[in-house]
């Protein structure tokens, strides 16, 4: 048994999962229990996605009446996907969505990183107030802030231009602001956990304060930044509300806007809804898997450790 476990570790190391090599794992009943719990929870999270995927291949009539059975044989259909792809330029929409959400994620990582670093490391008068401001910022509902934002975008000439880059930018800017609060709150937690000695050592070696941030803090917190990036990407991508105010014409549509228009109103076409959700979710999961590499690998990349 133990030998088997070692083999597993070797494989893990080969995969680049370096952190396991330093810990000792033994098979035990406790371990079996842990796996049982983890798998049980995993089932609850896998099932809904599976359910949606399954129903996206089913005739829309069956979804409400018979949603828990497999689409095999006669009930299998690609119609829901055909409708989703019919007459709409879904590739263009994916491109728009990616441009928006990647820009938002990148900007949030950078701006929130800088701000939370200062909020953690420096001691200054307004610190408490700024901290409360950030928390309050998380609570502002989008609908309460959207109208003044639209007005601003009109004034600076980003809204209603029928030009794709401007319309995308009109979505990106408020979305950055919307995700910053959350990102700062989370990053503060992470950066606060870093031992300050590392920065001191680097400082001794002649790094200036910005080099400290970009060369020490950022690499060390790579997984944290990846996590924040994932969520910013996710929320920007799913934020139908802001998008539907600025992305009005077909060439400007994002995936979320486009698919929401297909499944809207009466909301009775559950088949289309299932296929739309699948079409929305899978690119997200790919981005997630991609960024997750950083979460797992991040530690080995930063050469210095506490």
């Amino acid at each position: 048994m133990i030998a088997d476990d070692r083999k597993g570790m070797v494989i893990d190391m080969a995969r680049g999962n370096d952190r396991s090599k330093k810990r000792h794992y033994k098979f035990s009943f406790g371990m079996a229990g842990i796996y049982a719990v983890l798998i049980a929870w995993a089932l609850t999270t896998i099932y809904p996605l599976f359910w949606i995927l399954m129903n996206s291949f089913k005739d829309k009539k069956l979804i409400r009446s018979d949603s828990f059975s497999l689409p095999v044989g006669e009930t299998f259909t690609l119609d829901n996907y055909k409708t989703a792809f019919d007459r709409v330029n879904i590739l263009g929409a994916y491109r728009n969505s990616l441009v928006i959400s990647l820009s938002v994620a990148a900007a949030v990582i950078l701006l929130a990183g800088l701000a939370s670093y200062a909020l953690v490391r420096y001691d200054f008068k307004l610190k408490g107030l700024l901290g409360s401001m950030v928390v309050a910022g998380m609570m502002f509902p989008a609908f309460a802030t959207i109208i003044p934002v639209i007005r601003m975008m009109n004034v600076i000439g980003l809204a209603n231009t029928n030009q794709i880059p401007k319309s995308l930018l009109a979505v990106i800017l408020p979305q950055i602001a919307g995700n910053l609060s959350f990102a700062i709150v989370v990053l503060r937690g992470y950066i606060g956990g870093l031992p300050v000695e590392l920065e001191e050592a680097a400082y001794m070696e002649g790094c200036n304060i910005f080099q400290l941030f970009f060369k020490v803090v950022m690499p060390l917190c790579k997984p944290s930044f990846a996590t924040v990036g994932i969520f910013s990407f996710l929320w920007s991508y799913n934020d139908l509300f802001t998008q539907s105010f600025f992305l009005k014409t077909k060439p400007e549509y994002s995936v979320t806007v486009l698919l929401s228009l297909l499944t809207s109103q009466e909301g009775t076409n559950y088949g289309l809804m299932a296929s739309s959700v699948s079409l929305i979710v899978f690119p997200l999961l790919i981005v997630y898997l991609f960024l997750q590499k950083y979460i797992v690998k991040g530690l080995t990349a930063g050469a210095v450790k506490g």
Partner: protein
């Protein structure tokens, strides 16, 4: 995991490639980003009396509700494509499905001066903000310059604005509300399907029999969507001429009609004619009871024809008929009307380059032929009526057409006169009303008070 994702990706690629193949006009409107309206001459008034014969291509910004699952989304796309080919003009289409977010977008566009040139939108209270602000042009004003504008429509049916009673929009397709029937459920319970001659009392007997046979007579969520039954129940104490008018107070004769009508809804609940969980179920759940044959009747609008066709394999098992009436309402007095229409905005009207094109575009979209195509089974305001090819329609849709054709009177839904805010005491309070926790008369009074406050 990786393999699975790779496979999915490949699948998605293949699908999207096919999609490219049959999406001809995805980027057609992308190129037309120039806005010709920007350099409009200041003194538009002079141009108005003698519209310029401009042959230059014009770009119109158009916003409609023909999008998503709207049955006319495809008709609309075809129509604007044909129009652009024919005239050489361009259309920037910013249509959306009529969600609350979409409405907010339209209203805020008007607020900020970035409204479209041509708009297809609701003509009820939803249009009040921009009608009040004078941002759309009335039909009368348009006719001073273009006397033939919308003359193929009955003026009285165009859907006058609640603000000043004037017509601002040219309607296309209207709606009706009727009693949808699941034939199998009626058959299983051994009852006849209601007809134009069935009275309310007979209908109550039918419901009782259905209930005794173990089925739910009426599919309705009184918690979420009580308004269809509300309309017909108070209609029973009114007439097509009076139904659409709000009572002065809960005490007068008209107000009494409301109180009595809501009282009948309470009776329906007390007799157990509604699903057991009508106070906790959503409309989607009760609708499914109807589709599955667990419930026999459903009051809903003409848009539900498509919903039922889409939800069942056997559309012939469903039909639609008159909601049985009593008192001053004949069963054949129905509820219906035209709730949306084409507007020209003031901004476009004052733009000499666009004015004529807007008029031409709307005339094109509201020709007899086009309206017939869009309206299909629903009501229209056409002088000559629609020409519909019945062989193309399902039996349910034909039943709908027949019902409208045989109607002896039609009134608009009175809820369209009531703002969302004012609906709360009666509509949202319905569970409390039918369970006796709230007083009907007080609820009606509260509603009327809120309406009065809103009008100030």
């Amino acid at each position: 995991m990786k393999k699975m994702i790779a496979m999915l990706l490949t699948g998605a690629m293949v699908l999207s490639l096919t999609a490219c193949g049959n999406s001809p006009s995805g980027s057609a409107s992308a190129e037309s980003s120039s806005q010709s309206g920007d350099d409009a001459s200041e003194d538009a008034g002079a141009e108005e009396s003698a519209p310029a014969e401009s042959s230059n291509p014009v770009t119109l910004n158009v916003t409609t509700t023909f999008a998503g699952e709207d049955t006319n989304a495809q008709n609309y796309q075809d129509a604007i494509a044909a129009w652009q080919d024919e005239t050489g003009n361009k259309i920037n289409d910013a249509s959306g499905s009529s969600s609350e977010t979409f409405k907010a977008r339209v209203i805020s566009d008007f607020e900020m001066g970035s409204e479209p040139d041509v708009l297809f939108y609701f003509n009820g209270v939803d249009s009040n903000p921009f009608v009040e602000a004078g941002k759309v042009v009335s039909i009368d004003e348009i006719r001073q310059t273009y006397p033939d504008y919308a003359t193929n429509m009955k003026d009285g049916m165009m859907g006058a604005s609640p603000v000043d009673g004037k017509n601002y929009s040219v309607p296309v397709n209207g709606y009706w509300e009727g009693l949808f029937v699941n034939k199998a459920a009626c058959e299983a319970a051994g009852v006849e399907i209601p007809t134009a001659d069935t009275t309310w009392d007979e209908f109550m007997d039918i419901c009782q029999k259905i209930k005794d046979a173990g089925y739910t007579p009426i599919a309705a969520s009184f918690a979420e969507i009580p308004h269809y039954w509300f309309e017909f129940c108070i209609y029973n104490y009114l007439t097509p001429a009076t139904h659409n008018i709000l009572p002065e107070s809960a005490d007068d004769e008209h107000g009494q009609a409301w109180v009595n009508g809501i009282g009948d809804m309470k009776t329906l609940y007390e007799k157990g004619f509604l699903p057991e969980n009508t106070l906790s179920a959503t409309d989607g759940e009760t609708f499914q009871l109807f589709i599955d044959g667990k419930a026999a009747f459903l009051i809903d609008g003409s848009w539900k024809v498509g919903g039922i066709e889409g939800a069942t394999d056997d559309v012939d098992n469903f039909t639609v008929t008159y909601v049985p009436g009593k008192g001053s309402r004949k069963s054949t007095d129905i509820i219906g009307g035209l709730s949306s229409g084409w507007y020209i905005t003031k901004k476009a009207w004052d733009d000499p380059e666009k004015q004529k094109t807007c008029v031409e575009f709307i005339s094109y979209m509201t020709s007899d032929e086009m309206v017939s195509k869009f309206a299909s089974v629903s009501a229209t305001a056409l002088n000559n009526g629609t020409q519909v090819d019945k062989s193309q329609l399902s039996s349910l849709a034909v039943a709908g057409l027949d019902m409208v054709a045989g109607a002896t009177g039609m009134a608009g839904a009175v809820q369209d006169q009531v703002t969302q805010e004012a609906r709360v005491p009666v509509f949202n309070g319905m569970p409390d009303i039918v369970t006796g926790k709230a007083d009907i008369k007080e609820a009606v009074e509260e509603l009327l008070k809120l309406v009065a406050e809103g009008q100030q």
